[in-house]
């Protein structure tokens, strides 16, 4: 057992490991005597804490913050669909449409529950629930108008999740009580694709293409714009329209969904403006 052999191996995969340790003297200072080093280094629990502290915040984002951000959106969606189901206009919708909304509500409620558990498990505190502004909802005076907002919320959710996926890369699996080992990034991706399924169905219900083609009735809304708008036709410096024998701009933009940053999502022009009492 050689504690410093561990550090040597770490330095091979992470050349900056000594720098990390050096800048976290509060962690390392507990190892100021040889006897303490020997005693502590033999304890796996200590090592777990040690490396956790040495590497805290080395990913681009704090997973607790990322998941609380996701939870904000899920709370908003869940409350919105609850309001839809409780609305007098719900009875005017077809049985199929009602079933779809109830199915989507079921998923959003499940997402809220799972995200809260994940946040607690990784040592965070779930944010307090947020709701969809009652006054804004009251302006949606038909099932069709409510569906418009549902489309915007779902497409925003799809863009929001993919904007933060990179911040979850490399986060270790967590053991969720009653669920088992969960990889946080994978769980986020699994929620993300469900949101995309929802978005596609609501667009389909509204007579829109299930994908964002640039010719939809809501495509001028801020939810489809931002620093990287849905009209983008270049990905990773590759001009999609010039691939192969060439593609139309419409197909190029529909074949990739784009990200929204947290600031963009929470802006008043998008989801941020829908949160309130």
């Amino acid at each position: 057992m050689n504690f410093f052999n561990i550090i040597n191996q770490l330095s091979e995969v992470d050349p900056d490991v000594m720098g990390r340790l050096d800048t976290r003297r509060s962690v390392f200072s507990s190892l100021n005597t040889v006897s303490k080093r020997a005693a502590l280094a033999s304890a796996p629990a200590f090592l777990a804490a040690f490396f956790s502290k040495a590497y805290a915040g080395t990913t681009a984002g704090d997973p607790k913050e990322v998941f609380n951000y996701a939870l904000t959106l899920e709370y908003l969606e869940e409350d919105f669909y609850k309001k839809m189901v409780a609305s007098p206009f719900f009875a005017t919708a077809s049985a199929a449409a009602q079933g779809a909304i109830r199915q989507i509500l079921k998923h959003e409620a499940a997402h809220v529950s799972l995200l809260k558990t994940v946040i607690t498990t990784i040592g965070g505190t779930p944010i307090a629930p947020v709701t969809f502004k009652t006054a804004t909802f009251a302006t949606l005076t038909s099932f069709a108008k409510q569906l418009e907002v549902a489309q915007l919320l779902e497409d925003t959710g799809v863009r929001a999740y993919k904007g933060r996926a990179g911040d979850l890369l490399g986060i270790p699996d967590v053991n969720i009580t009653g669920v088992g080992m969960v990889n946080p990034l994978q769980a986020a991706l699994q929620i993300h694709s469900v949101e995309a399924r929802h978005a596609a169905h609501i667009r389909y219900m509204r007579g829109q293409t299930p994908w964002i083609s640039g010719d939809g009735d809501l495509d001028g809304q801020p939810h489809y714009k931002g620093a990287i708008p849905e009209s983008t036709t270049t990905q990773s410096n590759v001009d999609i329209t010039k691939l192969g024998t060439g593609y139309s701009a419409k197909d190029a933009q529909a074949s990739f969904d784009e990200i929204l940053t947290k600031a963009e999502v929470l802006d008043n022009s998008r989801a941020g403006g829908l949160v309130g009492a």
Binding site: F51, A109, H111, P210, Q235, L243, G244, S255
Partner: protein, 253 residues
């Protein structure tokens, strides 16, 4: 201490490796903060053997000892994996789009939408080829030869059924492989594509049975879509691909 080294699904192999080989960067980050990881690190610390005995990882598009085509290792493996699936999807939809009776088998609107999906999948295929040629020159998977059951393109039910299988499989493949990537930019690109695949999946499912866009067979009680390991995906996809693919080193480096 071995009690702390329980296999965790697909991570089993990467968890076991540091006991005998130097710690690889990705597996290290899997460990930070985990007691099980700390135990493995302790075991690594016990070893005085610093020789790198790990065998060379296969290059993308290389031929393995048993004649399979390797998708390669690390991020290249993930990209080639996605490229293989997109080749299959693109070929399928191209054949649908070329059906002279397409607008009869499907409705005119459905046929038009399928032609749009055919473009999306062809774009995904061409994009992965361009990205691989640029970022991993010489390791781009070769063009594959898809095969289909005889009646695949002869009825609406068979076309929709195959499309549903491919789309749901594609979504689960990206969901399962995302965590194997090391490069955040690739992860974002994969995310940009998988949500379009999920839109396709939802649409095709609605055509098979309206309202099944996110039915309980693809979204579980936690609200999670399906995620499959590359091995699970390749087992399913192999039935439609003439060439034998080896994805055993995907994500490993």
């Amino acid at each position: 201490m071995s009690d702390n080294l329980q296999p965790r699904g697909t991570e089993e192999s990467t968890l076991a490796q540091p006991l005998s080989t130097p710690i690889k960067r990705r597996s290290f980050f899997m460990y930070a903060g985990a007691t099980a990881g700390a135990s493995a690190l302790v075991l690594a610390g016990c070893s005085d053997d610093n020789d790198d005995n790990s065998p060379a990882l296969p290059k993308g598009n290389s031929t393995t000892a048993n004649g399979s085509i390797s998708l390669g290792s690390g991020d290249v493996g993930v990209l080639n994996f996605a490229y293989a699936l997109e080749q299959l999807e693109a070929d399928f939809y191209a054949k649908v789009a070329a059906l002279p009776n397409g607008a009869t088998l499907l409705s005119a609107t459905e046929f038009d939408y399928f032609k749009q999906v055919a473009k999306h999948e062809a774009i995904h295929r061409d994009f992965f080829k361009a990205a691989l040629d640029r970022d991993a020159a010489g390791q781009t998977l070769r063009g594959l030869t898809p095969i289909y059951p005889a009646a695949t393109f002869t009825s609406r039910a068979n076309i929709l059924g195959t499309a549903k299988t491919f789309e749901d499989l594609g979504v689960s493949a990206y969901n399962g492989a995302g965590k194997l990537l090391k490069t955040p930019a690739y992860l974002v690109l994969a995310g940009q594509i998988v949500s379009v695949e999920a839109r396709h999946a939802a649409y095709v499912r609605d055509l098979v049975e309206n309202g099944s866009f996110a039915a309980d067979d693809v979204v579980n009680s936690l609200g999670l879509d399906v995620a499959r390991t590359p091995a699970e995906v390749l087992t399913a996809a192999q039935a439609f691909i003439t060439e034998k693919l080896d994805g055993s080193s995907i994500g490993v480096n």
